[in-house]
Amino acid sequence: MKPLAYARAGSVEEAAELYAAHPGARYLGGGTNLVDLMKLGVEEPSTLVDVSRLPLDTVEELPDGSVRIGATVRNSDLAAHPTVRDRYPALSQALLAGASGQLRNAATTGGNLLQRTRCPYFQDTDKPCNKRAPGSGCGALDGVHRDHAVLGHSPQCIATHPSDMAVALAALDAAVELHGADGPRTVPVAEFHRLPGDHPEQDTVIRPGELITGVVLPGATAGLPSLYRKARDRASYAFALASVAAVLDVEGGVVRQVGLAFGGVAHRPWRARLAEEALLGAAPTTAAFERAADLELAAARPLRDNGYKVRLARNLAVDALRRLAPPTST
């Protein structure tokens, strides 16, 4: 049997020290993805540094109106939190659209952000995969890729990021709090995950040993109309074929603030900046929503068998924005 060390960290500092002291270590949160990958031989950590019991398990409202979510808050607790439900409904909806009840009970906020793609070639050590084994090729590119990316992919990798939660966080302008050897830093969720480029093995901008300590939802999007909508093969327990998170604030007949992000279409939650720019200051009409979605999706490069995602993402975005717009405006 492959020996494996296990250490439970009592503090963020201790977690970082344990990680540094054990080459090949991995942080363990809820384990819903990491442990699966260990069974598959995709992950072979020397040491698991258990961070699931760090004192990061609360949702706090901060004086500036923002909300800080501890990294070990469980997905089900976060989805049910009254503040989240009331002020950031898209986040609650996204969490509840993900995985299953049992998984949500175990999965943590930090772990959810760091989950790996469910690309079947990534999960099978007998198959080529540049993300798992750099330089081995991409089995999905000419293989089975109906579920894969249409935006921002590279010849090295066409995987999608599987999180629903992260898509809502991206649209809500949330930021990831990290703690590393150089101290704490903050990265916007929308910039936390990378595009694959020539280094698909790097999912995120996280540095070795850095630990997610929390996620901050800004006061600026609190209480705005928002929603998350996900299209999938079955009604529950399926990853998004495409999804959308939308935040829309209309005042005086024009869009004052908008956040739009797609899931299931790229290597990261796809923040639709072009669409947002087109909508800011515009009247919230169906035609405007369609134009904005088309503008964003003009960059799509669908593969042989996933062209449907472009239309699906467009439909989801237009539908979500229409639902959020005041009833008379569309």
């Binding site: 049997m1 598959l40 007998d126 198959k127 093969d233 079955r234 327990y237 449907y308 239309r311 439909n315």
Partner: protein, 697 residues
């Protein structure tokens, strides 16, 4: 005894239910024999070729690794009737996922780590895993699965079709599907000297015993196979699968009890699948909808080592009264895993296509699809000309239509919008043959007033243990709680597998006969029973398998209501209703469970399930339950199963027809027809996932 004779048909609770929900029921992988070791297979990473070398040195050096079996050192087996069981006998790799080594370890983890350390080198050959209609290697087999002639032609189907007033000519595709029972395949084997004892997750321990005795050249008396609890099979455990052979080999090699519990991701390649089927279906009819010609032509695949032909064209030999008929199968051997049985092999894909095409004909002829089916009801079985022992398809359609409020349906497609949703309803017929095989059973009256029925039946989650007690109680004229049923062990009187929807008929027949004899003996007996009690034995050979002048089938009708989301292309089922005519229903509770379980599997076939062959690797891509989408609870809506009690004297002493499979037959067609009614778009390839449906909107 006033409360006797009422057990049959009652909704008796399943007897092992408490053991299962409390976890005390032990499955094959949970046999914690002292000294038990675990084995983990190494599977081929190529689709075609030969193993050049297996380097086990690194694996053997790992702590806890006991042994590495390969084709060079594994115990030699006698030739197998089923080539998929000839594991580790030669270096040939017939498909990806084929077993090339087995690592035995002190623990599961040691075995798994050992398997990861085994290095296999291959001589790789070009492979072909892609089924096409015009594949050059396609041939017409003699028979399809079930012993059916591969081709039947009556009258002049081509000519009658060409001259028909209304014609449907459609191509359909059903993808590969996998059974994926809740309990993956597992076995624990131990040798007690020359005696072999095996716990196997199997649908029939009698066949497993016979097969193992043959492969390892043992007397059947020296082999005991136990399948006490089985977490589903759906055909994939119908005959022995290679894991049980591996477990026995490993136990022999190491002298230890050994468990082989296949991880789910190995199942798609080694325990069978429903082969993909390409269909051309032509229906010719008069202007009033009377069928004149049906032509159902199927192309499917099989592996290089075993011919298995999904009998998907067979249902058109039974269903409708067209005077001119063709039904034929062609098969292409490819470098793919061996296909096998999956719930209603033949009927499930065949009736999806036939019943979808009937819906197309109804639209083309401007007829109500229920009435079209009734119009074409045959007097005798079309293919054989035999009279039906009973056939209440029309009653099922009428009763289902009544319950579903079909009369209120507007036939026009694509006109019912509820916001972004389009709503539609559909109907399809169902059929499944009545089968029974000989079985033996013993009934034992004990001096304490109890009764024990002994038979090697298997309860794969159906409630067999419970239903057989009901059959016994009824035949004995005693209360149900006085009867114990001992099943799931090959030392018991031998009996056939739980398969072909024939288990209850086959076992129940023998149980009924043994209990009837015991009742006679008891009636003649006076005074207290002797200390050993009284016994009676039955063997239905020659009876259960006797030729019968009747065509015997169960029939049913499925009705579905769906919504299609025009934003996403997502299809969701709102209502699913089945009405069945399947003889007498022997246990209302467990029967309902089987019906709605199979309907749910049909829902999965329609909307969510498929296995995708990766042409480059020769591997099925969906290898866990996150990727292979069996329906989740949220997919299963308002679902109802009803039945029409049939009094058919030509079946078996209980008057029952099989009920395990008919619920999946036609369900996918009813849902697909509802999608057409909702959208006006006819899809001819399953499953109806958002990508396909959205493309049609």
């Amino acid at each position: 005894m006033a409360d006797t004779g009422t057990a049959l048909g009652a909704p008796a609770e399943r007897r092992e239910g408490r053991d299962k929900v409390t976890g005390s029921a032990r499955y094959a992988a949970e046999q914690t024999d002292p000294g038990r070791a675990h084995a983990w297979p190494v599977v081929a990473g190529i689709a075609r070729g030969t193993v050049r070398t297996v380097d086990a040195e690194a694996a053997l050096a790992l702590p806890g690794v006991l042994s590495v079996l390969t084709h060079e050192n594994a115990p030699r087996l006698a030739p197998a009737d089923d080539p998929t069981l000839s594991v580790l006998q030669d270096p040939r790799v017939p498909h990806r996922g084929w077993f090339v080594a087995l690592v035995v370890g002190e623990t599961l983890e040691a075995a798994r780590a050992g398997a990861a350390a085994v290095r296999v080198a291959y001589d790789v050959e070009e492979h072909d895993v892609t089924l096409t209609d015009d594949h050059p290697e396609a041939y017409a087999p003699e028979e399809a699965n079930g012993g059916f002639p591969a081709r039947r032609e009556q009258g002049d189907p081509e000519g009658a079709f060409a001259s028909a007033e209304v014609r449907v000519d459609s191509h359909y595709r059903v993808p590969p599907l996998h059974n994926h029972p809740m309990e993956p395949h597992a076995a624990t084997a131990r040798w007690d000297g020359d005696r072999l004892v095996v716990h196997d997750s199997s649908q029939g321990a009698t066949t497993v015993r016979a097969t193992l005795a043959s492969l390892f050249e043992l007397s059947e008396d020296d082999v005991t196979v136990i399948s006490e609890h089985v977490g589903g099979g759906f055909g994939s455990k119908g005959t022995p699968r290679p894991h049980v052979v591996l477990a026995v080999m490993a136990a022999r090699e190491t002298g230890r009890p050994v468990t082989v519990a296949l991880p789910r991701r190995f199942l798609p390649a080694v325990v069978g699948h429903r082969a993909p089927t390409l269909h051309r279906l032509r229906l010719g009819a008069t202007a009033d909808g009377t069928l004149t010609s049906t032509l159902h032509e199927v192309t499917t695949h099989t592996s290089r080592i075993k011919e298995f032909v999904e009998q998907a064209a067979v249902p058109s030999r039974i269903m409708y009264a067209a005077p001119h008929r063709l039904s034929s199968h062609r098969v292409v051997p490819l470098d793919v895993p061996s296909p096998s049985w999956m719930r209603a092999p033949g009927e499930a894909p065949g009736m999806y296509v036939l019943e979808s095409a009937m819906d197309e004909l109804a639209v083309a002829a401007g007829l109500d699809p229920v009435e079209l089916r009734i119009l074409n009801e045959p007097d005798t079985e079309p293919d054989s000309g035999k009279p039906f022992s009973s056939r209440h398809l029309v009653d099922c359609l009428r009763e289902g239509a009544r319950r579903f409020d079909w009369a209120a349906r507007d036939p026009r497609p694509g006109i019912r919008a509820e916001g972004p949703l389009l709503v539609g309803t559909g109907v399809a017929s169902a059929t499944y043959p009545v089968m029974a095989s000989p079985a033996q059973a013993e009934a034992h009256a004990t001096p304490d007033g109890g009764f024990v029925v002994r038979i090697n039946a298997t309860d794969i989650g159906t409630g067999a243990r419970t239903v057989l007690a009901q059959v016994a109680a009824d035949a004995l004229g005693v209360p149900l709680d006085r009867v114990r049923t001992d099943i799931g062990n090959s030392d018991l009187p031998s009996a056939p597998l739980a398969g072909g929807s024939s288990g209850t008929a086959s076992w129940g027949w023998a149980v009924h006969e043994a209990c009837t004899r015991l009742a006679s003996t008891l009636a003649e007996h006076s005074g207290p029973l002797p200390s050993e009690g009284l016994r009676a034995h039955a063997d239905t050979a020659g009876t259960a398998d006797a030729d019968n002048p009747y065509a015997r089938h169960a029939f049913g009708a499925h009705f579905a209501e769906v919504t299609v989301d025009t934003v996403t292309g997502e299809v969701r089922v709102r209502r699913l209703l089945g009405v069945y005519a399947a003889g007498h229903i022997l246990n209302a509770r467990t029967a309902r469970s089987q019906f709605i379980g199979a309907m749910t599997m049909g829902l999965g076939m329609a909307l969510t399930e498929s296995s995708t062959m990766d042409a480059a690797s020769g591997d099925f891509v969906e290898r866990d339950l996150a990727a292979y989408h069996v329906p989740a609870h949220a997919d299963v809506p308002d679902i109802e199963a009803h039945w029409i009690d049939e009094d058919d004297p030509h079946l078996n002493p209980m008057g029952s027809k099989g009920i395990g499979e008919i619920g999946i037959v036609g369900t996918a067609a009813a849902i697909g027809n509802a999608v057409h009614h909702a959208t006006g778009v006819r899809h001819r390839e399953l499953p109806l996932t958002p990508d396909r449906v959205l493309a049609g909107l």
